[in-house]
């Protein structure tokens, strides 16, 4: 949804100038503020939303001060959220709730927001963070969830139940709905924390009916007539409103009332025709034609009617009370009242389907001309215009499926008959791309690509065909990436670049990325880094977020391998930010990357949390090896916690997955950890056997050291050192240095040992890498202590020793291991961030402007590689900065 349309979700519906005053209901809502929840539950057309907007108006203007004696003078802030059918996805729902609250104070929910991309969504943790922020608010907050019945999702009910259980006194929840939500209503009711306004309370009494018909609608009626109408409509406001509209132009009002009250016809069926017939012909046509639209704006309506008076009619409908709801304050966007739209659609389309198609096509054309391509696509689909929908998918410069809209596109393609595909080979290629993009990779993609190739043989050999050949190759390169087939990636990427049209930027960018990935697999990190940087720059230029995410994740992996842990963590966080809404299973790679980094930083708890998140996400994808990466990391964490048996179980799971999916390239790393587990258990013989069988030089060196044969270890390590230096592989270089140092130590070559460990410390310090040392066990601690005595990197060495859990290590004071240390001022701000103070309060405390304060905060977050206040505080604690 475009931004301006999106904003309409947070807009409290504007009040009509004349309304029947309902002081008893307003007072009930005021009283309800003392409790936790106000539930307004009644069928369509009972004036639920109008009641809440009126109440909000009285709260904000204080216009009913006489009536609300019970209301304490606490200032009240309103967060409004109009729900729609797409809000049943928990992450989306919660992101809107946060956005609604952030309109009151942008600091609310910053850390909760950062958790939105996690999967499974950590709902309790997320809500706790959100509620903590709300607790810090000085004012009372009222969160209104309008039309909650459309959500219809158990997970969201559970989230709200949790929210209600932990609701701070500042927050009050108001729900309007057509059916009772699955919340612990009975419990709240018993404890007097629930206020209910139901159909019986909402329906107009005879007195209200009289006030409505006479004062609001300006009708002169007898009390018998009013009573008859009240009885016929049973006080149903939508019915009364329609009746009043019908009577406005009626010459024989009493005759009308007689036949209406004497009829059995459904109130709305009876009245719609009356109301429509009261309207001038051009308004009738307007209503019937624009009923296909979910949102209305003047020029869009003109496109459907072929007239030039859309805006004028919309405003006159609003004035005439004709079931139109303004969606903003500028009188730009409107929608019909849901009930009315349904009636109109029924009336206009029962006879004429071609007419409906034509209207959808016109709507699609308008949206396309106004660069709202997704809406244009949806209307093309509604019109069943395959050619148009297929063209709109391709987008202006960037296909819809590159813009996070792959799922609606996939659903549409899957609804098409095969004849459409045969008629349009490009659809096969699109389908293959969309499947790859949404992680639904099955063997059938290759079949789809072959079907496309076969179909292309019968088409003319023009520029478009050539480009499609390029796209097929690009898809194959992408598939080869998933199975790490270097040669195929390179061949298909080069073929793609040869055939793709020069202006097919999205596909060319993707191919630059697949080539980079091939370089990464070949160990050519510098070339890979360059390719990723190119990809990121190109994809930012074209707004191609999906490819930017993929390239950014890979860049982070290269930084990680180069021991640049802080930069890598920041880059991984950036991918998570890019992916926050909606959460995408592709985030698994960034999660496991962060898990590995936190592991290296010896923050095992955070490592495990990211590892589990990554695993849950990765399992939603097919044919990717990320679950193995997660298991490997989790096994390391388990071993580090001393739970060798658990680690072995995890490794067995990883092994099974590798065998099932033929991810043989993981066998080495899994065995390496297995060997470490065996060494941990003291089973040297089994470890040695395993290392021999798998030809794993690092493990072999480690075993030789353990066996008391350091020279054999050194012999294994020397070629590795040369390789690591020649290829500039920082991670391997560090690993080799550590084992060399241990080997020298074991060979009584103390001077060499200290010098080598000094070099290792110097290489590990900029990234704050602790675990590579700790994982080598007690001999490493001994060596480090010796190093400290000899004055090698004393600060970092002590930090590493602290990670060994050695009690005798003196606590470091304010040693910063940040690549870019915090300034004095930033440290001051950081200290205040750990308090309960809000942003503005901190600014006041330091006597700086809010903007300056925000700049400091931004710098602190960036230097700490975090994205929220909560994580900043945690990092600061880890780094001993406070």
């Amino acid at each position: 949804m475009p931004d301006n349309l999106l904003q309409t979700k947070f807009h409290v519906p504007r009040l009509r100038p004349f309304l029947v005053p309902r002081p008893h209901l307003i007072e009930a809502l005021n009283q309800g503020l003392a409790g936790k929840l106000t539930l307004i539950s009644a069928p369509a057309g009972f004036g639920k939303t109008t009641l809440v907007s009126t109440w909000i108006d009285t709260l904000q203007t204080g216009s009913d001060t006489l009536l609300s004696k019970s209301l304490s003078p606490t200032p009240t802030q309103i967060a409004w959220l109009s729900l729609d059918g797409n809000d049943h996805v928990p992450a989306r729902f919660l992101s809107y709730v946060i956005a609604a609250l952030q309109r009151i104070d942008p600091h609310i929910g910053v850390s909760a927001r950062s958790m939105l991309q996690a999967s499974p969504l950590p709902i309790p943790a997320l809500l706790t963070a959100l509620l903590n922020d709300i607790t810090a608010q000085p004012d009372r907050l009222v969160l209104v969830l309008d039309d909650y019945h459309v959500v219809d999702a158990p997970q969201i009910d559970e989230a709200l139940a949790f929210l209600l259980d932990h609701l701070p006194p500042q927050l009050h929840l108001v729900i309007t709905t057509r059916e009772d939500p699955n919340l612990p209503l009975a419990r709240l009711r018993v404890r007097g924390l629930l206020t209910e306004v139901r159909a019986a309370d909402l329906r107009f009494t005879v007195a209200e009916t009289a006030a409505f018909l006479q004062q609001v609608m300006g009708l002169a009626l007898t009390s018998d007539q009013i009573a008859a109408l009240e009885a016929r409509t049973e006080g149903w406001i939508a019915g009364l409103q329609m009746a009043a509209l019908s009577m406005r132009g009626q010459k024989d009002v009493s005759g009308f009332i007689q036949s209406f009250t004497g009829s059995h016809r459904f109130v709305l069926d009876y009245l719609l025709e009356e109301v429509l017939h009261q309207q001038p012909a051009h308004v009738q046509t307007f209503l019937l034609k624009t009923a296909v639209l979910n949102q209305l704006t003047g020029s869009l309506c003109d496109a459907l009617t072929g007239e030039n008076n859309g805006q004028q009619i919309l405003e006159s409908l609003e004035r005439a009370n004709l079931f139109i709801v303004p969606l903003d304050n500028e009188r730009r966007w409107y929608r019909y009242h849901h009930l009315f739209a349904e009636l109109l659609r029924q009336t206009s389309f029962t006879s004429d389907e071609t007419h409906e198609r034509d209207l959808h096509i016109r709507a699609s054309q308008w949206y396309e001309a106004n660069s709202l391509e997704l809406e244009a696509f949806h209307h093309a689909v509604a019109a069943n215009d395959v050619a148009r929908a297929a063209r709109l998918i391709e987008g202006e410069g960037l296909p819809l499926y590159f813009r996070g809209e792959a799922i609606p596109v996939r659903h549409w393609l899957e609804s098409l008959p095969e004849t459409e595909f045969r008629a349009r080979p490009a659809l096969w290629v699109t389908y293959a791309s969309v499947l790859t993009m949404t992680g639904r990779v099955r063997d059938s993609i290759e079949e789809i690509l072959q079907a496309a190739e076969t179909a292309l043989q019968d088409t003319v050999d023009d520029e478009k065909t050539t480009d499609l050949i390029g796209q097929i190759a690009a898809n194959r390169a992408m598939l080869a990436v998933l199975t790490n087939q270097v040669d195929t990636i390179v061949t298909q990427s080069q073929r793609a670049l040869e055939y793709l049209r020069p202006d097919n930027a999205p596909m060319r960018t993707t191919t630059t990325w697949t080539l980079g990935y091939a370089y990464q697999l070949q160990g050519n990190r510098a070339a890979a880094r360059q390719a990723y940087a190119d990809t990121i720059a190109q994809s930012q230029k074209s707004g191609n977020i999906m490819t930017e995410i993929a390239a950014t994740t890979c860049l982070a992996q290269i930084q990680e391998m180069d021991n640049q842990a802080y930069q890598a963590a920041e880059t991984f966080q950036r991918t998570l930010q890019l992916m926050s809404d909606p959460p995408w299973p592709g985030a698994c790679e960034a999660c496991v990357g962060l898990a590995r980094i936190y592991y290296q930083w010896n923050d095992l708890e955070t490592a495990e949390r990211y590892g589990r998140q990554g695993l849950a996400l990765a399992r939603q994808l097919e044919n990717v090896d990320t679950p193995v990466a997660c298991d490997v990391l989790l096994a390391r964490v388990q071993l580090a916690c001393g739970d060798a048996a658990e680690a072995l179980t995890t490794l067995t799971e990883a092994d099974q997955f590798v065998q099932q999916h033929q991810f043989g390239h993981w066998a080495g790393e899994i065995t390496d950890i297995r060997i470490q587990v065996l060494l941990h258990q003291g089973n040297l013989a089994a470890a040695a056997q395993l290392a021999q069988a798998h030809d794993l030089p690092i493990s072999q060196a480690r075993i030789h050291i353990a066996q008391g044969d350091p020279n054999a270890a050194l012999a294994h390590l020397e070629p590795l050192r040369q390789q690591a230096e020649a290829k500039d592989w920082a991670d391997m270089r560090l690993q080799v240095l550590l084992l060399q140092a241990l080997a020298y130590q074991a060979a009584d070559e103390h001077e060499w040992a200290v010098q080598t460990i000094g070099e290792a410390l110097a290489r590990a310090a900029p990234g704050g890498l602790l675990r590579p040392f700790v994982d080598e066990g007690p001999p490493m601690a001994t060596l480090l202590r010796e190093g400290v005595k000899n004055g090698v990197a004393p600060l970092f060495a002590q930090q590493v020793l602290a990670a060994f859990g050695e009690a005798d290590v003196p606590q470091l004071q304010t040693f910063q291991r940040l690549p870019d240390p915090l300034s004095e001022r930033e440290l001051e701000v950081l200290k205040l961030l750990t308090t309960e103070l809000t942003g503005p309060e901190i600014a006041r405390e330091l006597m700086i402007s809010l903007n300056t304060m925000r700049t400091h905060t931004k710098n602190i977050y960036s230097k700490l590689g975090v994205t929220s206040r909560r994580t900043a505080v945690r990092r600061a604690e880890e780094l001993n900065l406070l």
Binding site: R178, G239, F266, L268, D269, L339, T347, T350
Partner: protein
């Protein structure tokens, strides 16, 4: 009790007031029968529980008064 029902199950949904026949397609092809007491009965095959709940939601969304829902033997 076996709560499952086969695809050939028929339902009768009774609503207050006479509904126009043009709603038949909106209610997924149900037949609209108007009774002398002033009620409407939507009658027809309902694929499964999900479809039944979908129908009831449409009743709700039109603000119609629901009187009863019965499973009946086709005939």
């Amino acid at each position: 009790m076996d709560t499952r029902h086969s695809p050939t199950d028929y339902f009768e949904i009774r609503l207050k007031g006479h509904l126009d026949t043009r709603w038949a397609s909106w209610f997924e092809g149900m037949t609209i029968i108007l009774t002398e007491e002033g009620d409407t009965v939507l009658a027809g095959p309902v694929a499964d529980q999900a479809a039944l709940h979908g129908l009831l939601k449409k009743v709700r969304d039109l603000g119609l008064l629901l009187i009863s829902v019965n499973r009946v033997e086709p005939g």
